[in-house]
């Protein structure tokens, strides 16, 4: 008997597979046509989708709305930029980001997890504000100007090497990277650990009576989300060659939340589709009118009101039904 949650997760996998295939086709076509802009835009969309993924782990599974996830995204971006400016090594940048994200994630998680619900949203917002202002005011971090001049790097895999300046190459690398982050999150959420996290969302107060501490799973989920956000952020300076404090601002956090809600809360894959949709939309609408905020805002409101489960909320059940007969012998 397939568990309902497992089944919907499987539907998400199908949707991700479609996305990956489509992206690979896009990469091949893009490379063939010698395109750089759309490939780079696609890469940026994937990077921000990674941030959205981390928001969805918190919002969709742990039930915690983070209004300050840009804190970790920006953290990753700055750490990566600083490392790259000293030594242009992908692995050094990623390793340093991972380490810093775990440490800061634990500290942030300790602070934020003292409160629930709406207070969690506000405390994460507050922490991100403080961090953003500190970066904005710190001359050593470039202050309001940010850091420019992050070098182009070669990502070495032993068997192959990809330049961050190669649009198609770096796109595929980012795709693979975000896909791994997705797969890891999806796997975790289908384990007893993940289910405990989901149970916390449904009724936190009942969990201790089932024999589990509520502190560990919640903090773990928070740190995982922080790491995913930071690792995604670490790719940003490789793509764009600079970082600025705006990466930590509320706009960045807010956009990630918009992404998740439009894509579908609690689906993981919604974050990816939402990220791509929103980037494309902003790029298209922005070229037609400077009043793109009205358009984005309205679309977002419509999503909140009419598609409480987001785009994937419409698509996924259909896939689930298609998977149904196979699930039952």
């Amino acid at each position: 008997m397939a568990d309902a949650l497992t089944r919907s997760m499987r539907a998400s996998h199908v949707l991700v597979a479609i996305l990956v295939i489509a992206s690979l086709i896009f990469a091949v076509v893009g490379a063939a046509l010698g395109d750089t802009f759309y490939l780079r835009l696609g890469t940026e969309a994937l990077i921000f989708a990674g941030l959205a993924l981390s928001v969805d782990i918190l919002l969709g599974y742990t039930g915690l709305l983070s209004l300050g996830q840009a804190l970790y995204f920006g953290l990753g971006a700055y750490v990566s930029a600083l490392v790259l400016m000293v030594t242009p090594s992908f692995w050094a940048a990623m390793g340093a980001t991972l380490a810093v994200a775990i440490v800061i994630g634990l500290v942030g998680g300790f602070i934020a997890n003292r409160v629930r619900g709406v207070f969690f949203a506000l405390i994460t917002f507050g922490m991100a504000q403080v961090a953003a202002k500190v970066v904005y005011n710190t001359r050593a971090l470039g202050a309001s100007d940010g850091l420019i001049g992050v070098p182009i790097i070669n990502v070495n895999f032993g068997f192959a090497s990809v330049s961050s300046a190669s649009p198609a190459g770096f796109f595929v690398l980012t795709l693979a990277f975000i896909f791994v982050l997705y797969a890891l999150s999806a796997y975790l959420l289908d384990t007893p650990f993940g289910r405990l996290v989901i149970a916390l969302k449904a009724n936190e107060r009942r969990v201790p009576f089932l024999g589990f501490s509520t502190v560990t799973p919640r903090l773990t989920a928070y740190v995982i989300a922080a790491v995913i956000a930071a690792l995604s952020g670490a790719l940003y300076p490789m793509l764009r060659g600079f970082v600025s404090p705006e990466l930590l601002f509320f706009t960045t956090s807010g956009n990630a939340v918009i992404t998740v809600v439009t894509g579908g809360v609690g689906t993981l894959v919604g974050a990816l589709y939402g990220g791509i949709l929103l980037t494309v939309l902003k790029s298209v609408v922005g070229s037609y009118t400077e009043h793109h905020l009205i358009v984005i805002g309205l679309l977002f409101m419509i999503a909140v009101i009419f598609l409480p489960r987001g785009l994937m909320g419409i698509v996924r059940p259909a896939i689930e039904r298609m998977l149904e007969p196979r699930a039952k012998p």
Binding site: D35, T36, F37, Y38, R40, L41, E44, Y136, N137, A143, S144, D145, G146, I148, G149, A165, R240, G241, F242, S244, E246, L247, T251, S283, G286, S287, E290, H291, H292, L293
Partner: protein, 367 residues
């Protein structure tokens, strides 16, 4: 022939939307004129706008789009100095040229200069040189207090003016930096009053100036105080909202709509007819840029990056505010600087410094 495409990444929304509007008006007007007169080498100019949202990350993405997809030949419009520097890096990687018509920070054509970046407006140092020279004459040995916005542009303008003013005999009483978009400047008034300055120098801009000036007036601080500022502090864009509080304000600028030359009169008239508003320095400098580009392309007989760069270096061309030269050593425009003062709700020219005296040394380390 195919049109020549110029990309414009400028803030159309957010805090700097008002400046973006002037940039747009200036560029549109010049483009219309050039196109009506047959374009550049027989090719029409086409402007392609993108909203920078006052965010460097967005600016970079939009610049990328204009270069790669729209295949623009040239790019301009960035306001925020941080965006200008970041977009300059994009231009370098794409092997294209950009010019800013707004950003003040000295670094852009100084420590952070780039072979692909030009600046056709006056930088902080030029503005200060003119203003300090005038101050030394009008109020010798003045005691000055400084109030700037706390980011690169603010620090850079205050430092530049302090330097220039102290060299010409003024003394400094203290300085304070307020966050960008401050709602209340009254909290700095205590320090200001305690210092008892004769002169206040400020480089806040846009809506911040409206608040600073009206709050100062409310608190009676405008009495017996000479207020000076950076070029962007009071402009046609916020002057109506500031109203009487702007009376007596003086600044060093590369442009003012009151400059008394036939070229400028013609420009102001055309600008007002098109936009129902007076041009300010952003509008005028953006307007002038199109003519600089036209001159350079015609000189190079090509839109090729290297050729146009070559042509832009040491280019002399005519603008509403007179002749400008792009210094080859740092890509900074050299131009006559004016000191203008608000009198009866309008800017009046009260002083003038030749381009050579205002420009200052070339500090660009890269070329």
């Amino acid at each position: 022939a195919d049109p020549i495409k110029i990309g414009v990444v400028t803030p159309l929304s957010g805090t700097y939307a008002g400046i973006g509007q002037q940039v747009r008006w200036g560029l549109d007007l010049a483009t219309k004129e050039v196109n009506a007169a047959g374009g550049i080498m027989g090719r029409q100019i086409e402007l392609i706008y993108e909203d920078e949202e006052a965010n460097p990350s967005v600016a970079v993405q939009k610049a990328d789009k204009l270069f790669q997809v729209n295949k623009v030949d040239f790019l301009t419009g960035t306001v925020n100095s941080a965006s200008t520097v970041a977009v300059g890096q994009v231009a370098e990687r794409a092997n294209k040229l950009i010019a800013t018509t707004v950003s003040f920070a000295d670094d852009i054509t100084g420590a952070k200069c780039s072979p692909n970046v030009f600046r056709v407006n006056a930088r902080a140092g030029q503005q200060s040189a003119a203003l300090a020279a005038w101050l030394a004459k009008d109020k010798p040995k003045a005691k000055v207090f400084f109030l700037g916005p706390d980011y690169l542009m603010g620090r850079s303008t205050v430092a530049a003016f302090k330097d220039a003013a102290e060299k010409s005999g003024a003394s400094s009483l203290g300085e304070v930096f307020a966050p960008l978009d401050s709602k209340d400047y009254t909290q700095y008034f205590g320090q200001m009053r305690a210092a008892r300055p004769q002169v206040l120098y400020t480089s806040v801009a846009g809506n911040d100036t409206v608040r600073l000036f009206s709050q100062m007036q409310e608190f009676g601080l405008m009495k017996d105080l000479l207020v000076l500022g950076a070029s962007g502090t009071v402009t046609a864009q916020n002057l109506p909202a500031i109203g009487k509080a702007a009376e007596g304000f003086a600044t060093g600028v590369g442009y003012s709509d009151e400059i008394d030359t036939p070229e400028n009169k013609k420009f102001v008239e055309a600008f007002k007819a098109a936009n129902k508003a007076a041009p300010d320095l952003y509008g005028a400098d953006s307007y002038g840029l199109i003519y600089a580009y036209k001159a350079a392309v015609e000189k190079a007989q090509s839109t090729d990056t290297d050729k146009v760069r070559k042509a832009l270096e040491d280019l002399k061309w005519q603008t509403p505010q007179g002749e400008k030269t792009l210094r080859a050593g740092d890509h900074q425009a050299v131009q006559t600087m004016y000191v203008v003062r608000v009198t009866g709700g309008k800017f009046m020219t009260v002083g003038q410094v030749s381009g050579a005296d205002a420009i200052g040394p070339d500090t660009c380390p890269r070329f």
